[in-house]
């Protein structure tokens, strides 16, 4: 049996005796006898470290690690610099709790302050929180920030990630507030339909940029319509795209959120990921979760603390707008580190290369008879093709060690990042060509 309990049997007995007891069972005298688990748990016997390594490695070996990944749809396979994998594994950051005691947590607090600054820079916003669980919950929390007594309805673009839509829907259902999905036209939010839906009870409108289909929305025009109707404007932006893309602030957004997994986190079968949230000053005190602020200590020295805590559940309890407590601090730390390593130039390079490879892939695929772009709009690093035999195409790619795009009702949503080489893209295209020949 494996164990992490340091005390020996002898020491345990000494400790029991010191508190006036003879056995462990006396510690549990409050547990009613009929509930006591007789015969113990039905679990296998404990294992040595070597056995655990063998068992779990065997599980990992059952997965297919694709050499080439051309699938995104909310989880993106970008290059993770070596130092970005290494530093977050340092024990101090890894094992600490939320920095409640500022006097012995300056390292974590400062790293969050730096992260907040970087996310504000990326999005053009004034304030950032210290993270929420992922992009979908960030959207749901942002929707909650916009609602008040008079305005209770949330609108979400149907061109958003399906998991984001469903998560926002669940959060709205919880609060008994209404969510309406704005229709999609040619792979983009239908602005005419949106304008009709902008009644005076609409609190906030969420769109994704670039959207689920990889297409850039007419974000400025949507923003104008939303503000004319007196509602708040939430944009969910891909943080890599923000290396080159017009910021949500420049497009008029009040709140910017998104999935920051692309900033240095591995695919990891879906998590842990990182929800970022930034906003204009006006929404500062409505942002949920931890926020780190700069101040001075009793000696006048610069210091960082968890700030504006009166918003949070541990103080406001049932009046808090969010229950969030634990967040994704180490992922935020990783994102801050990633952005420091890449710098503005490196980030723009990642964005441009991803976009260039996607455009190259699209042009090569569309040379194959029967394959064409489904939508006409400008796209970033994802695009949808109409394609015959999508299922067959994807299995052929899989047999060649390539994870192809995502099958959406017979069409394929492709993604390319800076990580794939021209040779890999050419190989994928030749496999597709062969299937469709």
């Amino acid at each position: 049996m494996g164990s992490y309990v340091p005390s020996t049997d002898k020491e345990r007995q000494q400790m029991l005796n010191a508190i006036g007891l003879d056995s462990f069972s006396e510690l549990y005298k409050d547990v009613p006898g009929e509930m006591y688990l007789k015969g113990g748990l039905n679990l296998p016997a404990g294992m040595s470290e070597l056995e655990v390594r063998r068992n779990i490695s065997a599980m990992a070996d059952k997965n297919t690690v694709f050499e080439t990944i051309l699938r995104g749809a909310g989880a993106y396979d970008h290059v993770i610099p070596s130092i970005v994998s290494y530093i977050p594994a340092k024990e101090e950051f890894l094992t600490a709790y939320t920095p409640y005691q500022a006097e012995m947590s300056q390292g974590i607090l400062q790293s969050i302050f730096e992260y907040q600054t970087m996310m504000c820079e990326l999005t053009g916003m004034d304030v950032s929180n210290a993270s929420v669980y992922d992009g979908a919950t960030a959207a749901a929390e942002a929707a909650a920030m916009c609602r008040d007594r008079k305005r209770t309805v949330t609108l979400i673009s149907g061109a958003s990630h399906p998991d984001t839509i469903q998560t926002v829907k669940t959060y709205c259902y919880g609060k008994n507030s209404e969510l309406k999905v704005v229709p999609v036209k040619d792979g983009k939010t239908d602005i005419d339909a949106l304008k009709k839906m902008l009644t005076d009870d609409v609190a906030g409108v969420y769109i994704q940029q670039p959207n689920f289909f990889g297409i850039f929305e007419n974000a400025d025009e949507i923003g104008e319509a939303v503000h004319t109707a007196g509602a708040a404007y939430i944009m969910g932006c891909n943080p890599i795209a923000l290396g080159i893309m017009k910021t949500p602030r420049e497009s008029g957004a009040d709140i910017a959120v998104g999935e920051a997994q692309p900033l240095g986190m591995p695919l990891g079968f879906g998590g842990p990921y990182l929800g970022y949230m930034t906003s204009t000053d006006k929404y500062m005190r409505k942002l949920p979760g931890r926020i780190v602020g700069e101040t001075v200590d009793a000696n006048g020295k610069r210091a960082y603390v968890l700030s504006l805590q009166a918003r949070e559940q541990h103080i406001r309890r049932e009046k808090a707008s969010s229950n969030i407590c634990s967040n994704e601090a180490l992922c935020a730390f990783t994102a801050g580190l990633y952005l420091s390593v890449m710098g503005a130039k490196g980030l723009a390079d990642v964005a441009t290369q991803s976009m260039s490879k996607a455009h190259y892939l699209a042009s090569k695929l569309c040379e194959i008879p029967g394959v064409s772009l489904k939508y006409s709009g400008e796209f970033f690093h994802e695009f949808v093709t109409v394609i015959p035999k999508a299922g067959k195409v994807l299995s052929a790619l899989q047999s060649n060690g390539i994870l192809g795009g995502l099958n959406i009702d017979g069409d394929i949503l492709w993604c390319a990042t800076e990580k794939v080489s021209k040779a890999e893209l050419d190989k994928a295209v030749s496999v597709v060509k062969e299937v469709l020949a």
Partner: protein, 124 residues
């Protein structure tokens, strides 16, 4: 503790000063002392309705938040905009730093005079 005689007080520690048809509302010295350093005030907007005994805003200190309950029913005529940037004046000058002014008053809670309120605070 200072409880000016010309004011009336609610059991929720707000003070009320009546000027013609208008009720001016703030928090008492006792309240600001109990709360500690006030860092932010959540205020209603002019034109909002307030109801006697119900919440019209809240006060934040670093580690607590406290609801403000309106001693009167009516319409908010004005809010003290100064509190947005300098909430600390509620600590330094609780009777100078009014919070809201209410007009069109339709209902008023039972209020105490300064002596009764001082007695009330001793028990609280």
């Amino acid at each position: 503790m200072n409880f000016p005689n010309e004011l009336k007080y609610s059991k929720d520690h707000e003070w009320v000063k009546t000027e013609g048809e208008t009720a001016i509302i703030g928090i008492s010295d006792f309240a600001q002392d109990a709360l500690g350093d006030i860092v932010f005030v959540n205020l209603p907007e002019a034109g909002d309705e307030v109801v006697a005994g119900e919440v019209f805003g809240d006060l934040e200190s670093v580690k607590a938040v406290s609801d403000m309950l309106s001693p009167v029913s009516g319409t908010v005529a004005a809010v003290n905009e100064e509190l947005a940037d300098t909430p600390e004046i509620l600590n330094s000058d609780p009777y100078g730093a009014w919070i809201i002014k209410v007009e069109g008053i339709t209902d008023t809670e039972d209020l105490m005079d300064a002596d009764a309120y001082a007695e009330f605070c001793k028990e609280d």
